[in-house]
């Protein structure tokens, strides 16, 4: 191998990059903070005076420069932003950021190239966003090195589930945008995602905002409403003190010194008040983790994401399943990048191949109605392929082309061509109507990943043939979806 094998996680709030250490046979995060002593770096880009500035340095920028944040959330929307007066696509700005990240890695061996990169992406990322991310890599000069963009859950599983075959394991990801928790089990050639729920209100961003609002409240108590000049300074102050406030190891008051104000002053964040800020998140985390594993014999709870660098969050997650093993990487914020890196290394045959993620929550084939049209049959999906089982599916309506002399039979299939018949329902109690005057409504809903509720009803046909109220319903147990 002549170059770096990298995993990259460009998060909404902060980003990380890991390289594959072939000697140790593991992924290791690279410090991209430029001396701030943390392997992750804020996903912030500033354009000022004709140059790009990144990460912590961009956060300390002046008011004049254009500052770009939350880049991954803005990809795939065709968005442009002004950089020095020039309309610049967000994908290009992201590309500049990627180039800077990789430059840090290459500092360790400037002569080495980049062999392969796998980038992590949110589970439900639109295809257009992924396309923009590819374009960002091309802009950065690493388009050909980008081997793949992989679902973040797959990267997390690659990092955390090695050697855990047959053991139901919870992975809780305390990321900026949301708190995501899922139950996974590695079996056979797959890692099954048994459940996966996202709680945007519990994300690290929401926690950060709560902490900021608390600090801003303290400021206002001491100094009143901030002046226009101080608003941005106060925002920066709040953000830069999140770690101090939320990362406390022990129950104690925290002193905050407002040196940007004149005259400078001190304020005290009381322990009880800080707890009041974190309490809803601690309770929410515990409840979310508990819910994710309540019907399984959970063997371990794995933690990842920058939010788990706060001790209160780790303690809350640990309480959900006190008998389960708690696995927390040394730096939870870089676990995703490390997982992506392992997938990249596996792709080159350097690391053991990692089983594919089988998302038992997503429909592997569409579920719908098979309708006969002459000698042929057509499949009309109601729950489309790729949808999550918990999604709400609109009712499908079908016009009967035959008279209702005999009660109509609705056949529910999984998949179109070569599909499998799941069930059929006979809609009884219909009055006799001529052909083309009866509409049947078919509703599909999953009450659990393996249980499909099917309902059919007589919708009628205008005022002349109103619904007679006939309906039928059934439950179908599925082996897989």
């Amino acid at each position: 191998m002549s170059g770096f094998v990298l995993g990259i996680d460009i998060g909404a709030d902060s980003s990380a990059v890991a390289y594959y250490d072939a000697v140790r046979g593991e992924a290791a995060a690279v410090d991209i903070s430029g001396g701030y002593g943390v392997p992750s770096s804020p996903t912030v880009v500033e354009y000022a005076n004709g140059e790009w500035v990144f990460g912590e340095y961009a956060l300390s920028g002046g008011e004049d420069g254009a500052v770009f944040t939350r880049l991954p959330e803005r990809l795939g929307k065709g968005e442009y932003a002004s950089a020095g007066g020039r309309p610049t696509p967000i994908r290009e700005i992201t590309g500049e950021y990627i180039r800077d990240m990789i430059a840090f890695v290459k500092g360790a061996d400037p002569k080495a190239g980049v062999e392969a990169i796998v980038a992590a992406s949110p589970a439900d990322w639109p295809a257009a966003a992924a396309e923009d991310l590819r374009a960002a890599f091309v802009h950065a000069g690493y388009g050909s090195a980008l081997a793949d963009i992989r679902d973040a859950r797959e990267c997390a599983a690659a990092r955390l589930l090695a050697g855990r075959d047959g053991q139901p394991t919870i992975i809780a990801d305390f990321g900026a945008g949301a708190f995501r928790v899922g139950l996974y089990e590695r079996r056979g050639g797959f890692v099954d995602c048994l459940s996966s729920v996202s709680y945007p209100d519990l994300g690290a961003d929401a926690l950060g905002r709560a902490a900021d609002s608390f600090v801003a409240g303290l400021y206002e108590k001491s100094a009143g409403e901030p002046s226009a000049r101080d608003v941005r300074q106060l925002e920066r102050f709040c953000r830069s003190h999140r770690r101090l406030l939320l990362g406390r190891q022990s129950a104690k008051d925290v002193k905050l010194y407002v040196s940007f104000a004149y005259p400078p002053f001190a304020m005290t964040a009381r322990d009880a008040d800080i707890r009041a800020v974190t309490k809803p998140f601690a309770e929410g985390i515990r409840a979310a983790v508990t819910a994710a594993g309540e019907r399984a014999a959970v063997s371990a709870v794995c933690l990842m994401g920058g939010g788990f660098e706060y001790p209160f969050a780790r303690a809350a997650a640990a309480k959900a399943f006190p008998r389960a093993e708690l696995i927390c990487p040394k730096v939870p914020a870089v676990a995703l990048a490390e997982g992506a890196c392992l997938i990249a290394a596996a792709g080159l045959g350097l690391a053991p191949a990692f089983p594919k993620l089988r998302d038992v929550n997503r429909l592997s084939r569409g579920v719908g109605v098979r309708v006969r049209a002459g000698n042929a049959a057509r499949f009309f999906p109601i729950a489309p392929e790729g949808a999550y089982w918990w999604d709400k599916f609109p009712e499908g309506t079908f016009l009967l082309t035959e008279p209702t002399d005999a009660p109509p039979v609705v056949e529910i299939y999984s998949g179109g061509r070569d599909g499998v018949k799941l069930t059929d329902l006979t809609l009884t109690g219909l009055p006799r109507r001529p052909a083309g005057t009866t509409v049947v409504g078919v509703s599909l809903a999953f009450s659990a990943a393996d249980t499909l509720d099917v309902a059919v009803r007589d919708v009628g046909f205008g005022e002349q043939f109103p619904s007679a109220g006939g309906s039928a319903r059934t439950k179908v147990k599925l082996e897989t979806i």
């Binding site: 000697v23 300390s60 840090f104 001790p311």
Partner: protein
């Protein structure tokens, strides 16, 4: 949570990088076989700062605030906050803080002990609660600058004992050597590496010999070190302060001196102290930004409010920082200001490269012999430093995948592994103990007599070298002979004799052989033996050959 596989029978050791600006602590994680930084209050980097205030619960006593909180407190409580205490270690200066209207005096060791004590408590708590390790850290490996004096080392040890570490379990190691260890881990080819360690208060250069073969753990030895204990990022901060202060002088027509607290220019002493602290903070933020950006905005608005309102809004460019010559004293003493008066950042970088040259000379090498240059320390992020290093060595310096801010502490943690598990079968790195610099005695005429050469292997039983010539009395009727031991960190390379007053000559210790029989000059002969142990201790024995049993000994606890 599970433990990290530690055998704590020998005590638990903490690797401590006690820096001028920031400190970092790490532990060796036996389960993963690597050093791990312990986050303190959620951050890996802990500002080396303490602030005192009256204890509300116990009148007459002081309570303390440490780290990030204390660093920020400096702008509001400058008189009760202590920053950069490391620069005072080894001096006899008392540190006076004002808290609650009273003055309290501390020695530098006491202040350093307070900060180290906080680090120890936090590390104990983290190890107990997050790593499941029972007990507490009883020992530590603290790193010290390469050019530390014996006194600085002693005071550092004293501070560690005040912090609660067992006196016999405090080990000192050189900062660049510790950084070198973190570099060497995983190396699979033999090479010579220069460590360029530009920290907050000190600069060190160190040349490391790595002997490595694929599949074997690397064996490292330190070939030479050289440093400047009063050259660091704080001095670059002072340059930025100087640029801002020039603007302040323009705005006030030079009528206000915020650093002269005695002069009556209408600005209260308290306001001046606060202004100094805010200036220092703003300069630090601007300098850090200029490590990546070409310009930084400084806004101190208002900077002063009485007797006139002064607001500073200015932009500093990287070019300005690199070329600005220091003109203001900024409250520094003669020695500190004298060293940098009229000097630019470029001059400072030149000084670091001069240390590099001394280091190369001491190892008998040239720049072309160095295979890799490894940048360490927060100030190595200054682009000018990296560029000049690249120019000098003709290759881009190696940037650690580990943060340059953490590598010293992690190297110290690897030393901890060697102390806790000395017989471990497969260490991640082996250190081959060798003498780094020549050791010898002062002779008449202040000449240096080399006894132990550099680069000599120190076997497990210790290295013993007898002085090749017996010493004789230089005057008639002497009853005692001074035995003064020096380390020559910058030996002359042109074959000329070395003198103990030259740059790079470090006095380690001294004693006297008393009670020698009086007689004519040259009659009394004294045999001297130097012993260097793998425990980093030098023992010197001087024995009178004419008066049987007349012996004196001295020891230097932390040689390198």
């Amino acid at each position: 949570m599970g433990t990290i596989g530690l055998d704590t029978a020998r005590g638990l050791y903490l690797g401590v990088d006690f820096g001028t600006t920031n400190s970092v602590v790490s532990i060796f994680n036996f389960k993963d076989g690597e050093a791990q930084t312990i986050p303190i209050d959620g951050a890996n980097i802990f500002p080396t700062a303490v602030q005192f205030e009256p204890d509300p619960d116990e009148p007459g006593k002081l309570s303390r605030v440490f780290g990030a909180e204390a660093k920020e407190a400096a702008a509001i409580f400058p008189a009760s906050t202590v920053l950069s205490v490391k620069r005072l270690l080894g001096s006899d200066e008392k540190i006076v803080v004002e808290a609650g209207g009273e003055e309290h005096a501390f020695t530098p060791a006491q202040i350093a002990g307070e900060i180290l004590g906080c680090l120890k408590r936090k590390a104990d708590e983290y190890a107990r609660e997050e790593l499941g390790i029972p007990g507490e850290f009883s020992g530590c490996v603290i790193t010290v600058p390469a050019n530390s004096t014996d006194k600085q080392k002693r005071v550092t040890k004293e501070a560690a004992v005040l912090a609660g570490f067992d006196e016999d379990s405090v080990y000192l190691r050189l900062e660049p050597a510790a950084a070198a260890i973190s570099y060497a881990i995983g190396e699979s080819s033999a090479k010579k590496v220069l460590i360029y360690d530009f920290g907050g208060g000190t600069f060190d250069a160190c040349i490391l010999d790595i002997d490595a073969k694929p599949g074997d753990e690397p064996v490292i030895s330190v070939a030479s070190t050289y440093g400047d204990n009063r050259l660091g990022g704080d001095d670059a901060d002072a340059l930025v302060m100087d640029i801002i202060y020039e603007e302040f002088k323009n705005l006030t027509n030079g009528e206000i001196d915020i650093f002269d607290e005695q002069v009556d220019d209408g600005v209260s002493r308290r306001q001046k102290k606060t202004a100094q602290a805010r200036l220092r903070q703003a300069a630090n933020v601007a300098k850090e930004r200029l490590s990546q950006a070409k310009s930084a905005k400084v806004t101190l608005s208002p900077f002063l409010q009485e007797p006139i309102v002064v607001s500073i809004n200015m932009e500093i460019t990287r070019e300005q920082l690199e070329t600005h010559a220091r003109v203001n004293r900024l409250g520094q003493d003669d020695v500190s200001f004298g060293k940098f008066e009229g000097k630019t950042l470029s001059d400072m970088v030149d000084s670091t490269l001069a240390c590099v040259d001394k280091c190369l000379e001491a190892a008998g090498l040239s720049a072309g012999d160095i295979d890799e240059v490894f940048l360490v320390g927060g100030s190595s992020a200054i682009p000018l430093a990296a560029n000049r290093v690249e120019e000098k060595f003709g290759r881009a310096p190696y940037k650690s995948k580990v943060s340059p801010a953490l590598s010293i502490s992690r190297g110290a943690a690897v030393y901890c592994e060697m102390i806790m598990m000395p017989d471990i079968a497969e260490p991640i790195v082996k250190v081959k103990e060798r003498t780094i610099h020549p050791l010898g005695l002062e002779l008449h005429g202040r000449r240096f007599l080399k006894i132990v050469d550099s680069g000599m292997d120190i076997p497990p039983e210790g290295l013993t070298v007898e002085c090749p010539e017996t010493l004789t009395t230089g005057f008639d009727n002497l009853s005692s002979m001074a035995i003064v031991v020096y380390e020559n960190t910058a030996p002359a390379t042109d074959g000329s004799p070395d003198y103990v007053y030259r740059d790079g000559m470090k006095r380690l210790s001294g004693t006297s052989l008393r009670g020698i029989p009086q007689g004519p000059k040259g009659q009394e002969r004294v045999r001297v033996v130097f012993s260097v142990g793998q425990d980093n201790m030098l023992r010197v024995m001087a024995e009178s050959l004419s008066a049987g049993g007349l012996v004196t000994e001295l020891t230097v606890d932390d040689l390198y």
